[in-house]
Symmetry: C2
Subunit: 386 residues, 2 copies
Amino acid sequence: MQKSTGCRARLGEIKTPHGNLPTPVFMPVGSQGTVKAITPEQLREIGIRLILANTYHLYLRPGVEIIRNAGGLHRFMSWDKAILTDSGGFQIFSLARLREINEEGVRFRSHIDGSEHFITPEMAIRLQEDIGADIIMALDICPSIQESDNKIREATARTHRWAERCLKVHSRSDQALFGIIQGGFSPQLRRESVRQMVAMDFPGYAIGGLSLGEPKEITFQIIDITSELLPEEKPRYLMGVGAPDDILKAVEMGIDMFDSVLPTRVARNGGLFTDKGRINIRNSTWKDLFSPIDPECSCYACRNFSAAYLHHLFRAEELLGYTLATIHNLTFMHRFMERLRNSIAQGNFLAFKQDFLVRYRPTDEKIRLAQKQKWLERWENTEQEN
Amino acid sequence: MQKSTGCRARLGEIKTPHGNLPTPVFMPVGSQGTVKAITPEQLREIGIRLILANTYHLYLRPGVEIIRNAGGLHRFMSWDKAILTDSGGFQIFSLARLREINEEGVRFRSHIDGSEHFITPEMAIRLQEDIGADIIMALDICPSIQESDNKIREATARTHRWAERCLKVHSRSDQALFGIIQGGFSPQLRRESVRQMVAMDFPGYAIGGLSLGEPKEITFQIIDITSELLPEEKPRYLMGVGAPDDILKAVEMGIDMFDSVLPTRVARNGGLFTDKGRINIRNSTWKDLFSPIDPECSCYACRNFSAAYLHHLFRAEELLGYTLATIHNLTFMHRFMERLRNSIAQGNFLAFKQDFLVRYRPTDEKIRLAQKQKWLERWENTEQEN
């Protein structure tokens, strides 16, 4: 572990049975056992060493029995590098329908076919042991941001009791089980959550329940106080955050791990990351630019294709467009994290951060919230269709 | 050119500025400047050396000026092997709306935005010279199969006059311009078409106006008499035919070149080619088969993934499913053509054909016609939406 001077940014390494991972690290998301639109070979070529998969999705489809019988998720999806699975908590509370929580567990209906399911903390661990990821997560409760203080206090306390039950049944010593800090937007509850979770001595800690649509000021206030209280020697994972400007701020607060669907999801809408911010390749500006989107980018897309060609693929709704944009964005994130780690190693993280932010035009806060809203609504509509 | 004994199957080679092509050859289709769902790198890995692109599609989107300014289609799509473009004739008569043909050319509306266009034989060549394929096609008229004998006679005669105009303006000596034989289902008209086209001395000849929904008996009767009359020393290209069993029959009649969307289109619907026929990976039979679809197949999909994983990808509507299925089917076609050429080289084509057909269950004629009908209707509906 190497720390920066003047801020809490730090370098580290996470050892897994499928390779060691330098941190800070960004994880692409492969919810259903595939990072959307690209092959595992393309992921490897980019240099990705760790991806996230969703227990909730895999449990519903194809079912964990299939994955176990296939020899685990690594073999099923032909990925020999590291995998982290979340516990399903977040998806149960954001995608599934008709949730009913009691002390034992949570009852919900599938967003796919409306079928009813009941998951306990013990089951969440069993499912993740069968899936066989290198890092797995305790089952947590993610209350919506509109809940009352009292409800959030209860949910947080229950998350702690569930974490203990997860620890108790977890038996695979080749998997690291991380605990998740909850506590809503209350500094006091967050401190209490850290105290209780740290007492259970997990090998790593995630910060959950953030980036749900709340103002960014609050997000970072909570990250700040939570990260500060977590033990130095263990990895800190900020769930669901992945915009480059947000990663810089969180790394400065001592965060080591990130995941987000952002680079892959916006790729499929034609949004491409550059050092100057996100551009949209569908825009007619790009229709006759015969050089790559980013001449300094070394990805397969930028080495071989012009902006004009990518523009054409998106206008013509060709699947290759989604593939190339995904490769580009994941390469951008991978290179970005490399540069970020180098700056920490060289003791100039704050200068790197400032340089980057001067050039990078982040997505406007209003647009960001509108997109988030649209996303949440889309899911609600999906649910109603089933 | 090597001929078989006992039948007209033959080996040959087509020389192009982007590599020489052993025949019989099958061309994957990349209508819009991309073979759907895979990268040019994946195409190369399969061993593909020649693809077909559609002048009609590229003319409408992104427009031929963009492709010319990009340095031609090879550079635009980052494909350094050979390309053939069709003239747009078939698409104008199958996809476009409100066609009006006169001696000068054909007026039509785009199936994309309803915009009006007028294409002459001279323009069809100019467009193809700008696109820059290695092999280009004369503009032909493809009457529907319900037309009267008189209409077909007129259309065929006009196709001959248009072919002469194409020859006259074609100026790029690095491109081979092929003529297209028409004549509907009349042996007499086909013979006349061959006579007239051969007199113009094209470097290669295509057989057009077949496989439009007519009974297969008629298709092959026309292929048989047409192929027999074409000059020995020039390549013979049967347009739009690509099912393995049909290729075998046509090769036996002396055909050298084939193109079809079949292997890529059915791949995206979960249809996978095997030596035993086409299977559908969506079928629940495959949900827990943890070996590859075809253990003898050497493609990226079969080397790395089980049938169960492909089944999951298709059920979960993951784009990777389309990519893997496309790689598998194009590898199957590529290997099939290799085996077919080897059998001709070894003088046992007829045994190869018989062996293959004994094992291969072709798609049922009734299903085939129903699918064709559905496809035609879908296009009609698409047109009405615009």
